[in-house]
C-alpha cells in the first residue's frame, strides 16, 4: 500500500492570484493528493495575495473580468454546476496533507507581514531554495 510510505510528489508555483487559476492549482493539487501523491503549493507574487486574511475568494477572473461582472457571471455558473468553493477545496487540500509555502521575498516586496496572512493556511515560509527542495524530486511541477 502506498498510503504510509514515501510517495510521488506534485509541486505547484502559484504565481497568479486570479480566481480561475487558484481553482486550477487547488483542483490539480487535490487530484494529486487523492491519487496518493504528496502535494505542495508555493504562493508567490499575486498568488500570495490570496493567502491574506479573507483574500482567498477575492481574485479577479484572468480574462473577461469586466470590473467584476464577468467574475460574478462565472461564479453563478459554477454554483449551478455545483463546483466547490475555494475555501472548500483549500480545506480538503489541508485535510489530505497538502503543504502551503509562502514566499518571503514577495511578503517583503508587497509589504505583507505574517499577521496580514491567514496563518492557518500556511505551513512554511521560504524562498527559492525551499521550492527547489520540494520540486527536485517531484514528478509533477507546474507554474500557474
Amino acid at each position: 500500500m502506498v498510503d504510509e510510505t514515501k510517495s510521488d510528489k506534485a509541486t505547484i508555483i502559484v504565481h497568479s492570484g486570479d480566481m480561475d487559476k487558484i481553482y486550477s492549482a487547488l483542483i490539480v493539487a487535490n487530484g494529486a493528493l487523492s491519487m496518493g501523491m504528496e502535494a505542495s503549493l508555493y504562493f508567490t507574487f499575486w498568488g500570495l495575495q490570496r493567502l491574506q486574511k479573507g483574500g482567498l475568494e477575492k481574485g479577479p477572473l484572468s480574462k473577461m473580468h469586466f470590473m467584476g461582472l464577468g467574475k460574478s457571471m462565472i461564479k453563478s455558473r459554477m454554483k449551478k454546476a455545483n463546483v466547490a468553493s475555494l475555501e472548500h477545496l483549500f480545506k480538503d487540500f489541508k485535510e489530505l496533507g497538502g503543504k502551503v509555502i509562502a514566499c518571503e521575498m514577495t511578503m517583503e516586496i508587497m509589504g505583507v507581514s505574517k499577521d496580514d496572512l491567514d496563518q492557518d493556511l500556511i505551513d512554511e515560509y521560504g524562498a527559492v531554495g525551499t521550492y527547489i527542495h520540494e520540486a527536485r524530486d517531484a514528478k509533477i511541477t507546474l507554474f500557474i
Binding site: D3, S34, G36, N82, L96
Partner: protein
C-alpha cells in the same frame, strides 16, 4: 456490504475523488468503502486512483446514470 458509504451524487470534479481519498484514509485495512456518484469522469478516474493507491477495486456498477464503486483498503 460496505463498511463505509460515501454519497457524492451531484458533486463534480474534484469532489468525488477527494471524498473517496478522505474515506479511504479513515478506513481500517480490509474495510470496504463504497462511493456512489453521478459525475461521469469520476467513474473512470476513481478506479485509476485505486490502482495508484495499490488498493483493490472490488466492483463498479452503474444504473440510470448513478454509479457505485466498491474499494477494499
Amino acid at each position: 456490504m460496505a463498511d463505509v458509504k460515501i454519497d457524492v451524487k451531484g458533486e463534480t470534479c474534484p469532489v468525488p475523488l477527494v471524498e473517496m481519498r478522505k474515506a479511504l484514509r479513515k478506513a481500517a485495512p480490509g474495510e470496504i468503502v463504497e462511493v456512489e456518484g453521478t459525475h461521469p469522469a469520476s467513474k473512470k478516474e476513481i478506479p485509476m486512483a485505486v490502482e495508484a493507491l495499490g488498493l483493490e477495486l472490488v466492483e463498479v456498477e452503474e444504473k440510470d446514470g448513478v454509479w457505485k464503486i466498491r474499494i477494499r483498503k
